[in-house]
């Protein structure tokens, strides 16, 4: 939907700790359909970046192709963006991250872009535990090509065209957990209360932070019979826990009852406090995390929230033991061995 956004902002809106206002995190006007879940997710990303006081130009936003992949144009104008080709965002992020490990990489993709054409790149970026936030805006269908089912559409779900989806669906969160992502979460575009802190925690995690956000397609897949509709998701989702994300240095003011709250400290010393329904389930246990997803699926429920965290997981740079300095900052003097070394090599080859 194209509309005109007023440039006026309330004069008393506060700046964050880095001195930026919310509008500094905004982007171009969205051209997505009115009511599209993706726009709500963009709003949540903007809010999360603002609340974390990130410097907008130290964020890099990347995407593939599709409705979701247009999103980077609608947020963070001050950040460099890269709208690549279909399903290939993860490899572009891998290279970008290798070149400069100091920036925050925000990969935005869709269910077609990730679960079909980009499946190979997705799983391997996860295996590398690439330090990035990987957001899938998951609506179970291809929007730009007018509503074909995607690989995350649930079997039996019926979209606008009326024919049920006959194929098994892919659960990207389960795959991400199995393949070693250090942080995996699921949320709903209509649940900003949950989504913003989830994004903040993901952005604070070092390593692959994967978030699957169910984001109804109002045009092609918001029918009463679709399991990716606003109505269905509201009725059938259940959170693992409610949780608070407390960034490093922020004062902890709340008291939690012992036993029901689990605290997970991330690499940057920020903490996720999980207030759990079932104190026995540990989100730091890979097998329990997958079991919980499957158990809920059997009951016809979508499990949301923080699904799995391993704050100790090693990211790609650590695995490869690369320089702590950004590789793109190294100068010729350090990179080029020079003619004396070459003379030695020539000698070895005679």
């Amino acid at each position: 939907m194209t509309f005109f956004r007023p440039s006026f902002r309330h004069p008393q809106l506060p700046a964050n700790q880095a001195g930026y206002y919310l509008r500094d995190y905004e982007g171009g006007i969205s051209t997505l359909c009115a009511g599209c879940g993706h726009d709500s997710i963009n709003g949540a990303i903007i809010q999360a970046c603002y609340e974390l006081s990130l410097e907008p130009h130290r964020i890099v936003k990347l995407s593939g192709i599709g409705c979701s992949s247009k999103s980077p144009a609608y947020l963070l104008s001050a950040a460099h963006g890269f709208n690549s080709v279909h399903g290939r965002m993860p490899s572009i992020v891998t290279g970008a991250n290798m070149a400069n490990r100091e920036l925050l990489y925000l990969g935005i993709s869709g269910d077609g872009d990730t679960a079909s054409i980009g499946m190979g790149q997705f799983v391997h970026a996860v295996r590398r535990n690439l330090n990035m936030v990987y957001i899938v805006m998951n609506n179970g269908c291809y929007g730009l090509t007018k509503g074909q089912y995607s690989a995350t559409a649930d079997k039996g779900s019926v979209g606008k065209k009326g024919e049920p989806n006959l194929l098994e669906s892919i659960d990207l969160c389960e795959i991400a957990i199995q393949l070693g992502a250090g942080f995996v979460g699921r949320s709903f575009s209509g649940d900003k209360q949950q989504l913003v802190p989830l994004l903040k925690a993901a952005m604070s995690h070092i390593g692959m932070a994967f978030i699957d956000v169910i984001s109804p397609c109002v045009t092609f897949n918001n029918t009463p019979t679709s399991t990716k509709s606003y109505h269905w998701v509201r009725e059938h989702s259940e959170a693992t826990s409610t949780f608070d994300f407390v960034p490093f240095r922020q004062e902890i003011t709340t008291d939690y009852e012992n036993g029901s709250t689990e605290a997970v400290t991330l690499h940057d010393h920020s903490v996720i406090y999980l207030h759990k329904k079932d104190p026995e389930v540990a989100v730091t246990d890979r097998r329990q995390a997958v079991d919980a997803l499957e158990e809920h699926k059997e009951e016809g429920l979508i499990l949301t929230g923080v699904l799995y965290v391993d704050p100790e997981s090693e990211d790609t740079h650590t695995i490869l033991n690369t320089s702590e300095r950004p590789l793109n900052s190294l100068e010729q003097a350090e990179l080029c061995p020079g003619s004396a070394a070459l003379k030695e090599i020539n000698e070895e080859l005679r």
Binding site: E55, P56, H57, R58, V60, L62, P72, A73, S77, A78, A79, H80, G81, F82, N83, S84, V85, R88, P90, S91, I92, V93, T94, G95, A96, N97, M98, A99, N100, E102, L103, G120, Q121, V123, H124, R128, T316, H317, L320, N321, T322, S323, E324, L327, N328, L330, Q332, E334, L335, C336, P337, G338, S339, A341, L342, I345, N346, L349, R350
Partner: protein
């Protein structure tokens, strides 16, 4: 039939079973020849297999310095029962058949025009060595010792080569030296005076040249060129580019103290991702490259289109092998010229460099990073299996310490800060078709833009306006023109007398082509040679073609791909270029080429000519 008699000019073929350890013995032999000061050109003809299939190693020694494949075999060392009869049958009349005489030769080996030289390798080996695993390997060294005597080589050169080869596993030196001596002594006692092929040390032929494979030189070029990010996927024959890069990175790119690596080498899930990694890194300000071969090029075509249109400086090394499809993965060809020149859908074209020697692999790869960044475009280094995987005699590698990396047009923080007018990523302010780049994270409020593979205006905003699209596409043509002034120029090698015939070649074809031209010159036929080094073609290429009555284009593919590219890009008439091709998967052979050119030029017909090389695999 008289036995072939020749000094410092011969071809020996070793026929082995792959996985039997023959490679290091054969290599030892080639290196020893090199250390005698003789131009040597070893070619490994190997199967796509790890163990058990036939493999050949062909060593040419040429006092005249001819480094291409000659064609024809003067001596065969027949170590493979599977191919023994074929190896025997294909020897030239007067040739030498060296075999393991521990078993008698079967009756069907009845040629009268050969010299049979039996060395009881198995018996000698079993008598001298107890360790059964070592026996197989040392048997190979015994025949090298035998050859040393037969070819009149200085044994000290070989013993020195053994000591060097096993300097890190010194317990292997004594048995290897013993094996060398066994072979040498046996040949001396039983075959004195029988072999008329000889070698003699020369101190005036190879000067300061080195013996190196092209892939190692390419890797070193990437190190010297400042590459820090590598995305790659294993594929023969390009894999060793990355392996060598890793080894050189260990040597030159470890940080002091901490030992962290100043390079990220990422083995990707496929070639798509490999190039994606390179694009992401190059976009983010690191010098990055990948190496691949034909099938990888097909997969990378999508991303090459993105890099062309979004103008991202990637370096891609294509070590070509025989296609189509999986083709012959371990055989050489120059078969990807068109696929690389025009890779990807829509109007795309790419900058190509054609190295012929390891020295050029080194220089061109290092230079490719400058070109890519200056022109903000992919640069493809077009090597091939012959150049990449075989040891080549090459001028030494050379580096100018005063040269500085050309990082191209990049705005840093202060330049962005000082900007007064609005910056546009794709604005051509200098008239060369190249805009200014910025890297993420540089400046809080200036220089951010949205990179895209969709049509975009000067400010990188999405646009479906026809005028905007056309303007952008025309600017890319302008950039293409700019490239011609930056790429290496073709090298003219004029005949001694005025020539009406010209010959165009590139890459590994130049050695056999040059030899053929010199052979024909001795017969009174003058031909000028033009070695093409890059695409797009410069005016000098057009001038050369227009300046000759007839121009032959010699290359190693079926469809005369460079010729097609020349016709299309230089606006030539088809009859102006006569195709001459050799594409059976073996490096083009000089003798066969001479025959073809002779026939072709005598008949005066400009028809498609394919060099038939004959001979084993």
């Amino acid at each position: 039939m008289k036995p072939i008699q020749s000094c410092n000019d011969l071809v020996i073929r070793f026929a082995n079973v792959n996985g039997s350890g023959s490679a290091s013995a054969n290599n030892l032999f080639a290196r020893a020849v090199f250390r005698l000061g003789l131009p040597v050109s070893p070619k490994n003809i190997f199967p796509s297999n790890i163990q058990g299939l036939p493999t050949w190693y062909e060593v040419r020694i040429s006092e005249q310095g001819y480094l291409g494949r000659r064609g024809g075999v003067d001596m065969v060392v027949a170590m493979n029962g599977q191919t023994m009869h074929r190896d025997y049958a294909e020897l030239q009349p007067g040739g030498y058949f060296v075999y393991d005489s521990s078993r008698q030769l079967p009756e069907e080996y009845e040629r009268q025009d050969l010299v049979l030289i039996g060395l009881p390798l198995t018996n000698l080996c079993n008598e001298a060595f107890d360790n059964p695993r070592m026996r197989g390997l040392l048997k190979n060294i015994i025949y090298v010792g035998g050859l040393a005597y037969l070819l009149d080589m200085e044994l000290e050169v070989l013993t020195a080569a053994v000591e060097l080869q096993y300097r890190k596993k010194s317990q292997l030196i004594p048995p290897n030296l013993k094996a060398l001596e066994l072979g040498y002594d046996h040949a001396r006692r039983h075959h004195q005076g029988r072999c008329l092929l000889t070698t003699r040390r020369r101190d005036d032929l190879i000067g300061d040249q080195i013996l190196m494979d092209g892939n190692a030189a390419t890797a070193l070029g990437a190190i010297y060129g400042g590459a820090t990010v590598v995305g790659w996927y294993p594929i023969t024959p390009s894999t060793s580019v990355i392996e060598h890069f890793g080894r050189y990175a260990e040597r030159f790119r470890r940080e002091e103290g901490g030992g962290r690596l100043m390079a990220a080498i990422v083995q990707a899930e496929d070639e798509l991702a490999a190039l994606g990694i390179v694009i992401g890194a190059a976009w983010n300000g690191a010098r990055a490259f990948t190496a691949t071969s034909g099938p990888g090029i097909s997969l990378m075509s999508e991303f090459l289109g993105l890099a062309y249109f979004a103008e991202i400086p990637v370096v891609l090394v294509n070590v070509q092998r025989a296609g189509p499809s999986t083709g012959m993965p371990t055989r050489t060809q120059q078969g990807d010229i068109l696929a690389c020149g025009y890779a990807s859908h829509g109007d795309t074209k790419h900058l190509l460099l054609f190295p012929s020697t390891p020295a050029e692999c080194f220089t061109m790869t290092a230079r490719a990073f400058d070109l890519a960044e200056r022109l903000q475009a992919p640069v493809i280094v077009m090597s091939d299996l012959d150049l990449g995987m075989n040891d080549q005699l090459s001028p030494p590698l050379n580096w100018d310490d005063d040269g500085r990396y050309d990082r191209g047009k990049v705005l840093d923080h202060d330049q962005l800060e000082a900007l007064e007018e609005q910056w546009g990523r794709y604005r051509d302010v200098d008239g060369d078709g190249v805009g200014y780049r910025t890297f993420p994270g540089t400046h809080p409020s200036k220089g951010a833009y949205f990179t895209r593979g969709t049509s975009h205006d000067e400010y990188s905003k999405y646009s479906e306006e026809s005028d905007t699209y056309l303007q952008n596409m025309e600017r890319l043509v302008q950039k293409w023109e700019t490239a011609k002034g930056l790429l290496p120029l073709p090298e003219e090698r004029p005949a001694e007398e005025k020539a009406a015939i010209g010959l165009v070649c590139y890459g590994t074809t130049i050695f056999s082509a040059q030899e053929a031209v010199e052979t024909l010159a001795r017969e009174g036929l003058a031909i000028d040679v033009l070695v093409i080094k890059a695409f797009p073609f410069q005016q000098a290429v057009v001038d050369f073609i227009q300046g000759h009555e007839e121009v032959l284009v010699v290359e190693q593919n079926r469809d005369s791909q460079l010729r097609t590219l020349l016709l299309v890009e230089c606006g030539l008439a088809p009859e102006q270029l006569t195709p001459v091709t050799s594409y059976d998967g073996l490096p083009i052979a000089a003798r066969a080429l001479v025959e073809q050119l002779r026939t072709l030029l005598a008949s005066g017909q400009s028809t498609t000519t394919t060099v038939t090389q004959g001979g084993a695999a």
